[in-house]
Subunit: 347 residues, 4 copies
């Protein structure tokens, strides 16, 4: 028997990816799709790539429309889901792909987002550590889940094993990310225009202002870091999807190369969706396009005393919608890998 | 009266950009173009964008073909120009766009390149410091010039002012570059295929192995650094040209924000081709496409204690061919800006 | 019980797409993957996006390696599969993604390809008409199938219904295709380099020389055309995958707009993978990326007396590997849609 | 002595390209730049690639701001320049890059644009025929010039010689264009977002509705056509700039291949900016990026009875701003090539 599903924000990029994955999921049946300005239109007219869902019509995003489903996925701009989902039954599994329920610190929320604070939910990156456990343990049976920020989870997956194992320092991390513009959604701004992005690499939120920074720090604290600090610079590059995160960290003096690699290997060896590549190999974003996979390459730069990690994630899949579904699988007691592919669409 | 010019390696990307710029230069007249496998073909058949040079025919790359010109630009793979240019008259201005004459340290050469070492020439980045002077002073009247590695000069321009001024540390620099594939030339390898690069971000030379690292360190030593260290990671992104270098450095404790900005401002305020952007502004590679311009944005990330610089350069223009021509202008006593545009081709 | 599968040419783009689709197919189990120069390597090292097949090793492409499987998919350059597959058991289902068995006319083969002619197999585009039937009827129980040329099947699907219904003329068709470079495989040539393709639109095979022309004409004859003629121009554009075919045909004088639309609607209304879009809607290649879907938009340009069709196909999926698997499903009596998605990966 | 210049609409893509070209023009001095919502900003903040014009400030677009210059270039949306420029002195050279003054037929204007009709000006494509002369003759001494629509002039340049020479028919032309999104300007619409365009080929205005169709027909009538008809389909592809137009025309029966080629050769042999490529060669848009060059490749497809032309133009340069400046050069008695490059920026 399939769980009934509603998707709020079905006209956007994250909503579209949720629906693409849900359409191929054996245990979910999408019954309701909601939107704001596109309400009343056929879903296929707004998301013309979702042929198998051509029978669905977008309705207005209201608590009533979302009510009565087993699972509600929410893909709305930050600040929009807190009030909306407060009305839903506590028995309904709600997975929020927005930022509203990611941060445990109200201070961080106020500083980086602002507006009413609705509290943190179980964090939808099962592979990340939280003390001696994994987030996975908090997701079991959960009914409120916050899917991660795509950049935040990518960076956290890249370095959390080393921090937990004590082989890298949690201060003075440096992350530079090549990211596709779909992460910005369909916001109608000049910097999002194709003319601005084609043939160019464009930085934004330089110098410590990006909203995913406190979310990264939270994950690093869960991994055991005290007062972690990270320099974080995202660069938009001309690919629709994808994150390639180069994250470097200072090697704890005296640590052996074997101990470094062992930290990541032991963390991810049993994971279905997060993989450490062999020495000398590094991932490309096309390797994970459309997949729920995070690939991590790792090198030690002895000359500078840093561990260099390069991590590839599809921002819409493992970065957002895939993480949401993977977490929902866990919460509902389904096989964690149900409906999720590990293979990228390449070239 | 125009200087007569030969370009060796005219069939490649760097050679093509040299010719594009030379074709618009008021003081140079391209008389000879050479190639290897394309010798015997019309230049326009190999470089169909160079309409104004349609009268030229590629000849074989030999000392005889290059002899007798006022200026010889060489754009050959590393290891190919040392022996070739040794035969040219000392009165001829030779500008090498390859790596053969960049490194002053034979040890570095042996470690990162190998093969016969031919010694270092004047380094073709006029704006970089060398002790209390600028490289410009070494270029005046020079007859042997090594144009820089595109990544190396971009990173050096990004941080040299801070090192010279003592506001950032020269150890533990971290550089991550988004670069276009034209930097790899026309080498026929699978990673250079369009199918591999379109829609993807692809790292290479991760972990301290890139050949431009010793060249960067050399520039930083010229700027006053002692034993500089840098983590350097290039990422190929789907744009034909361009480098966007995010280079961060630890702030020297106690340094004021004003002192930081002043270091870069004073270094570049009088430069025609290198510009520090106002606070809060950061460059895009499209801003400098085809231009001999380096644009630098700078922020201080207090939370992590790092200065963050983002620098945009066209790898083929200011990164290679433009630097070569700018340096040749200086060497020959021409206006430094002759034949070089500061404006990018955007969008 | 799953059918055992071998894939010959598993290191290329078509082979990679076959494996990606096969990995998600409920009734196939890939046991053997073969290659030429990559033989001996792990598949995952050559196709790093195929995580779920990381256990496979590439072996040399020989009849022995392919022998003994229920199904053999062949993705080799043209001229390579004819002799290779002649040795395989007649009970084995062989699906050739190359050109060797597409053309019924030995004269066409000699003129456009040359070399030994091995005869035509059942043509792997089930939706195309052949007389009063569909190709589907020839595929039932077949053990030798020729998957189509991606451009050829796209153009044939675009106009065959109109020709069969007699509402458009079969002479003076004009087709212009925007295509991604993956269609050219991993051939190491200068025109396939990223530097040549990024930021540019590049025509090739202009003026009636493309090898898919006789294959298109063959399909049109199957649809009832006598001496069909078509002007065919492909243009490489900077997207990894996809074909957007604009095919126009002269309207048969006196035909009503209703009759035109009815021709396509009746042809495809029951098809799971080929869809006529509503009036005023036209497809984009991103709508079908990774999907086994062909989307057709249609307009009548009264002023010029032409029917204009715009058809989007993923050249590697519905254009090649998806068609191969769809045809294999039919041949083996499996559900035609098994293992094939109708949804694109967008954006 | 330089002519004083104002540019209206300096914040858009066409305005930016005008300024880039004007900045390198020896006889023009840009004194005034105007905008709408960006008025009050520094030009460099809106067009960060125009370093050499960093001293200019955008002012509001009013007749007063434009008054008093020798030359006024207007790059506004259609319908905006008619009233604005009516106030300017008849002695001022006004070059309109919008559509307001291109069409001689008020009926065409009403049908494809609508709103007040302001009459046609001299058409800024000097190389096109008009009866026994060229448009060039109408531009000599002109003080009101309409720069062309980029698609319209590209198609007209592609086929006008054949029509004038009587070797191709003027009915049933078929044009399919691969175009970059910069042609749509900075309009904030979902289809213009990078997420929609990256990795995809997207048709628009299919079936005879594009506004450049009557402008093409007008040019063909000037070339001698009676009731020309053309099927015209533009396809947006993921490159910032460029038009690759594949235009085919029925060969007039009995015409020799020599006569066909001679028609184009004689038309363009003396042109500095329009070139017929040798047999077997076809242009790419990267060959003309940033250049004022149109390159035409031509083949005869005997099997289908069509002449196939493939023409590459930079939509912003030769397609718009370059054409405007070339025409202004003629009007003012300057060298026609002043300030305009024939060389593309490639790769």
């Amino acid at each position: 028997m399939a769980f009934s599903v509603a998707v709020a924000g079905a006209s956007g990029y994250a909503g579209g990816e949720l629906l693409r994955l849900l359409a191929g999921h054996p245990d979910f049946e999408v019954q309701t799709v909601t939107a704001h300005s596109n309400a009343g239109q056929q879903l296929i007219d707004v998301q013309p790539h979702l042929r198998s869902l051509a029978h669905l019509t977008l309705v207005d995003t209201t608590p009533e429309a979302l009510d009565g489903h087993d699972v509600v996925f929410v893909a709305l701009p930050h600040g929009k889901s807190g009030a909306l989902t407060a009305h839903l039954s506590p028995d309904t599994l709600v997975v929020d792909c927005g930022a509203d329920h990611r941060l445990e610190s109200e201070t961080d929320w106020a500083r980086f987002y602002g507006g009413e604070y609705f509290g943190a939910w179980a964090y939808g990156v099962p592979e990340l550590p939280v003390g001696d456990e994994e987030q996975r343990s908090r997701l079991l049976g959960a009914r409120r889940i916050a899917a991660p920020g795509c950049n935040a989870s990518t960076v956290a997956l890249a370095v959390a094993p080393g921090i937990r194992a004590g082989v890298i320092e949690a201060q003075d991390l440096v992350a530079v990310l090549a990211v596709g513009p779909s992460g910005a959604g369909k916001a109608l701004t000049v910097p999002n225009l194709a003319g601005e992005i084609l043939g160019s690499a464009n930085p934004y939120a330089v110098g410590g202002t990006h909203r995913h920074i406190p979310e990264i720090q939270q994950s690093l604290r869960w991994a055991g870091a005290v007062n972690p600090t990270i320099s974080f610079t995202p660069v938009i590059v001309p690919m629709a999807r994808g994150i390639l995160a180069t994250v470097t960290a200072r090697l704890v003096p005296g640590t052996s190369a074997e101990a470094v690699r062992e930290a990541w290997e032991s963390a991810y060896v049993a994971e279905p969706f997060v993989h450490l590549l062999p020495p000398g190999r590094f991932p490309r974003t096309s390797d994970v396009l459309g997949a729920n996979t995070a690939l991590i390459g790792l090198a030690i730069d002895e000359a500078v005393g840093r561990v260099v990690t390069v991590t590839a994630v599809d921002n819409l899949a493992k970065g957002t919608a895939g993480a949401a579904i993977q977490s929902a699988n866990i919460a509902l007691g389904l096989p964690e890998t149900a409906g999720l592919s590990t293979n990228g669409v390449a070239p």
